[in-house]
Amino acid sequence: MNDNTCRIETGDWIGSQLRGPEWTPYAQAIADSYPIQVPFFLRTTITLDQNTIPRVAVTRPYLYDALILGMSGTQEPSVLLAGMPYLQVTHLPSGVPWVSPASLAYAPLPAYTGFPGFGLTGASRLPEAFFLPRGTQLKFEWLGFALDVTPAVVINLTMIGVQLIDKPGKRQPEWITMPNGNQIRVGSRVPWFGTVPFGGRLTTRTLLTSNLRLSALTQIASYVPPQDCDVEVTDAFASFLDVPLFGFNGDTNLLQTKLDDVKTRSDWTPSRTPVPVIFGSFAGVSPQLPFPKPYLLRAKHKFVVTAQNNSPTQNVIQGTVTFRGVRRCEY
């Protein structure tokens, strides 16, 4: 049997951003162990300017276990005026990064939060809930890539979830049972982001100026590198749609793409497809556009993103695409 057709333990299901905070089976199974569940908002703020980027912030250890199910952001000046910052999230004790260490080990802020501010949506769901054990910290690494930081950009990032409260001293659950009957370790499902350039690097590279470009009437391939674990890829985001400042001012249907799983040669797209068919925009109601079902990217496999610009005049500047999903590892 082709292993890409097997059922995935979440039930082959991807929730919609529009339909509210649906919990994944993994999140529900963890929460079932706790008697009291209270809304949780964990805020960090960061100022990015030319003197201080990249910046690192860590959250303060918290009294209770928590599940992080979504993220919300604000940015001043806005994405339309200043572009978008990039972010890597790492759970400090485990050292597991959320963004795959590809050529860009960061993902744009709207890939996490949707529109930063009061857009069509106020928050975005993560592809999987993240279990944050009590007393542990998350590290945020910010990069002013594709961001105009003159004079400065202030970003508020709010992680939205639920506090899981139990009697003092009671240990957190170590194993949970998924809908298919499998027992998995708590912490073995982690949000995963894979960001690759939609274009090529220029020969000169600095942090603040354009170093990625897909010129008019060109085609460039980029690879999401092999992962050490299976990944359920659930949705995708493009940084350059609806952002004229750094992006593409022409007809976005002229930007086309083709996706392939290199190891199994299973084409996602038999022909080239307009970018907005596969990737969401930060200004839409589903900023991270869901696939009809998760795609199981096996460990050691990689897929290739072919970017083609059919516009005779317009370039894509600082364009990236981000695939989101769930990394399945046992630690």
Partner: protein
Amino acid sequence: MYYFTKYTYKILGYYRTHLLFFDTLSIGFASPAVASERPVPTLTHEVSEDVLYFGGQVSFSIADVLVRIRSISPQYEWMVDTSPTPQDTPVNAVFGVFSQALPIVPWVTPFFVKHQGRLQMQFTNSASAPTTGGLVSLVGIRLSGPLVGDGWSYDIGFNS
């Protein structure tokens, strides 16, 4: 768009009747507007039944208005930050506004308040584009006709 977790169903199961509930409150930002103003905390109305609050909406679309929510009796803090000085949560992470695809932001999990209990919301006006007045509306379910004792409570919990 509202999502009922098992925890929610557990609470609902303690009551015979579930009634819709909308609670609109005035925030009271000064006029003319004052940047970074912190008016007196906004408290939800006291209700004679237990209530599950599911989400809410504000009457303005200024994302850098901040809010800090806690419940009173029992006291649960909803907001956490990373700074030694309080950094409240941008309001767009907690509430919706009429122009959004989801005008009411449903919370990840509803919050239970015992009868006569209240939620306290401490708002801080925007530092750059302050607004005046301001309304916040919460959406919930009133729970009446307890089937067991006085209904659900935090002493009972989910997995009792």
